[in-house]
């Protein structure tokens, strides 16, 4: 395993006079396998960032263990082999992107020529052009995110830990980062990323873990979490007249009017769409589309989060 956590738990104390423990992560057990893209999903405050910080020993666990690249969390040798992008990355504002990568390259002990070459190529990769020579305080949030990605890849890591990598990026930036993650995965690197943007996770991840209020709400391969069973059908037609609409209503299938002269008919999974399509064609409506409705990651996410909400630990006091 590249990453393994066993009953990983973290409590924080809140309050000044009367200090109360609050559980941010509750007995999390997950593993990340070599070469996979693993998504750590959950709403804000679910414990995603806490988990990543525990893996990097930016936080110390209250109980439980975490291993990373076969070493205990925080091991310096393991850190040589991983790259980390913090959430909302912030770097030394008086350095340029080139200088930041040079400083971090020195900490990895990369030779000067290789350092310069690698920094330049990485900044090209993440789309940092002439801005690489500007002080980092002058860069936008999106550009800082790109610099953060570049520094995470500086040591050609086996494992990338990315905390909300799409955060702060515009649609083009998000597409670029998605492509970059896919390319890094293609190179055989393992990627663990946290996100609350489910479409990104759906597009990239082979396995996911869903956290809710510090607890593991669901985990496993995406294809297992997403039921492939058809939950119903959506039929879109154009030119449905009142008679056709009344006929559908009589069968218990109301048609909803959509913009652009379209009508939407939703069929339960127990009905076959073919007879309805035939009737619609006979009434003069023209078929636009007929699609099976399958469960999305968002459906799974919302269902699991709702279920976990009833049993989450919350404050311990």
């Amino acid at each position: 395993m590249v990453i393994r956590t066993e009953a990983l738990t973290k409590d924080f104390t809140t309050g000044f006079a009367a200090r109360r423990p609050s559980r941010a992560l509750d007995a999390l057990t997950i593993d990340v396998r070599p070469g996979e893209i693993f998504g750590l999903l959950g709403p804000n405050g679910a414990g995603k960032t806490t988990t990543l910080k525990l893996l990097l020993q930016l936080l110390f666990p209250t109980s439980g263990t975490a291993e990373i690249l076969g070493r205990p969390a925080g091991d310096v040798d393991a850190r040589r082999r991983l790259g980390y992008l913090p959430e909302h990355p912030y770097f030394y504002e008086y350095l340029t992107a080139e200088e930041l990568l040079d400083y971090f390259g020195r900490l990895f002990g990369i030779e000067p020529a290789a350092r310069r070459r690698r920094a330049s190529a990485l900044l090209d990769d993440v789309g940092i052009g002439a801005e690489r020579r500007l002080p980092l305080r002058k860069l936008s949030k999106g550009l800082l995110q790109r610099v953060g990605l570049a520094q995470a890849m500086l040591n050609e890591p086996e494992l990338l830990i990315l905390d909300e990598p799409m955060s702060g990026l515009d649609p083009i930036g998000r597409r670029d980062v998605r492509n970059l993650i896919a390319r890094l995965h293609g190179e055989g690197r393992t990627i663990l990323f946290s996100s609350h943007i489910l479409t990104d996770a759906e597009a990239l991840c082979s396995r996911v873990a869903i956290l809710a209020k510090g607890r593991l709400a669901a985990a496993g391969p995406l294809r297992e979490l997403l039921s492939e069973q058809v939950r119903g059908w959506e039929i879109l037609v154009r030119g449905l007249d009142d008679a056709g609409r009344a006929a559908l209503s009589a069968r218990g299938l109301p048609a909803a009017l959509l913009p652009g002269g379209l009508s939407q008919i939703l069929l339960p999974a127990s009905s076959r769409p073919e007879p309805v399509i035939a009737d619609l064609a006979a009434s003069g409506a023209s078929l636009v589309s007929a699609s099976p409705q399958v469960e999305t990651l968002e459906d799974v996410f919302l269902r699991r989060i709702a279920a976990a909400g009833e049993t989450a630990p919350g404050d311990l006091a």
Binding site: L58, V76, R79, Y90, Y94, F104
Partner: protein, 270 residues
């Protein structure tokens, strides 16, 4: 602990200080010293050299303490507050190496700053030597350009290293404001170390007397480093005293940095 990593962190701290215009304080020092020297030269004949030496050494000390405290407390707290520490500690750098590198970087910054201020100081003293008439020169207790002044500057530097270690130590577990207040408090109290030792002679309460004695042993004794008046009056500073001060400073700094590293190595970064 890997010295290469400590070196890289130290160079980074130095670069940050230079870009933060910390060395501009030396330029301010130069301007103030030259202006003061000109005024003093106008006002008091005969004693002007001693006053300039006193003023120069005191200013080097004060400017140095200002840098040591205000840059020192920011070394760690700024990294934490601005969250730049997250990416840094994901690199192969231990927290102990980070503390050592931060200290070494500020020690380097202070050394460069003091070197510039001392150079300006000696330029001003050389000017006084050239412009003074022979009769005035003969009245001086010590030559204007006196190498013994460098001993005083060196001991000021040792004090500043202790102040830096104090600032770093306090900033590992408290807020920047409190860290600055604690460091400044210890620096001031450390200059009255001898008075703390003799506290029982002026107070009757045994508890106060015991507290004075405890503080005497716990607080760094900065008065031991103060040879300014001796040097200004042309007195010799024994090599043994300098050597003992070096050993004392090394011991105090060592204890403070180890304590800082221990506290910092268990700290959560939320």
């Amino acid at each position: 602990m890997r010295l290469g990593t400590v070196h890289q962190v130290a160079v980074h701290v130095f670069k940050e200080s230079v870009r933060d215009r910390v060395l501009y304080s030396a330029v301010l020092f130069a301007g103030l010293l030259m202006a003061a020297s000109f005024l003093i030269g106008q006002l008091s004949a005969g004693q002007d050299l001693k006053i300039i030496k006193d003023l120069g050494l005191a200013a080097i000390s004060l400017f140095g303490v200002f840098i040591a405290i205000f840059i020192g407390i920011g070394l760690v707290s700024k990294e934490v507050d601005k969250r730049s520490i997250y990416a840094l500690l994901a690199k192969p750098v231990t927290r102990q190496e980070l503390i050592a590198g931060k200290f070494a970087g500020l020690a380097l910054t202070l050394a460069v700053n003091i070197a510039i201020m001392s150079a300006v100081f000696f330029v001003v003293l050389t000017y006084h030597h050239w412009t003074a008439v022979d009769a005035v020169r003969r009245g001086w207790e010590a030559p204007a350009v006196d190498p013994r002044l460098l001993v005083a500057v060196f001991l000021i530097y040792l004090q500043l290293l202790i102040v830096t270690a104090l600032a770093l130590f306090f900033s590992t577990f408290t807020s920047p404001l409190l860290a600055a207040a604690f460091t400044l408090g210890v620096w001031v109290a450390g200059h009255f170390s001898a008075d703390l030792k003799a506290f029982d002679e002026i107070v009757e309460a045994p508890a106060a007397s015991a507290l004075g004695r405890i503080l005497y042993y716990v607080l760094p004794d900065f008065s031991a480093f103060d040879v300014k008046s001796a040097v200004v009056h042309g007195q010799h500073v024994a090599a043994g005293l300098v050597g003992l001060n070096v050993l004392y400073a090394a011991a105090v700094i060592g204890v403070l940095l180890i304590a800082a590293a221990l506290i910092f190595s268990r700290r959560d970064f939320k």
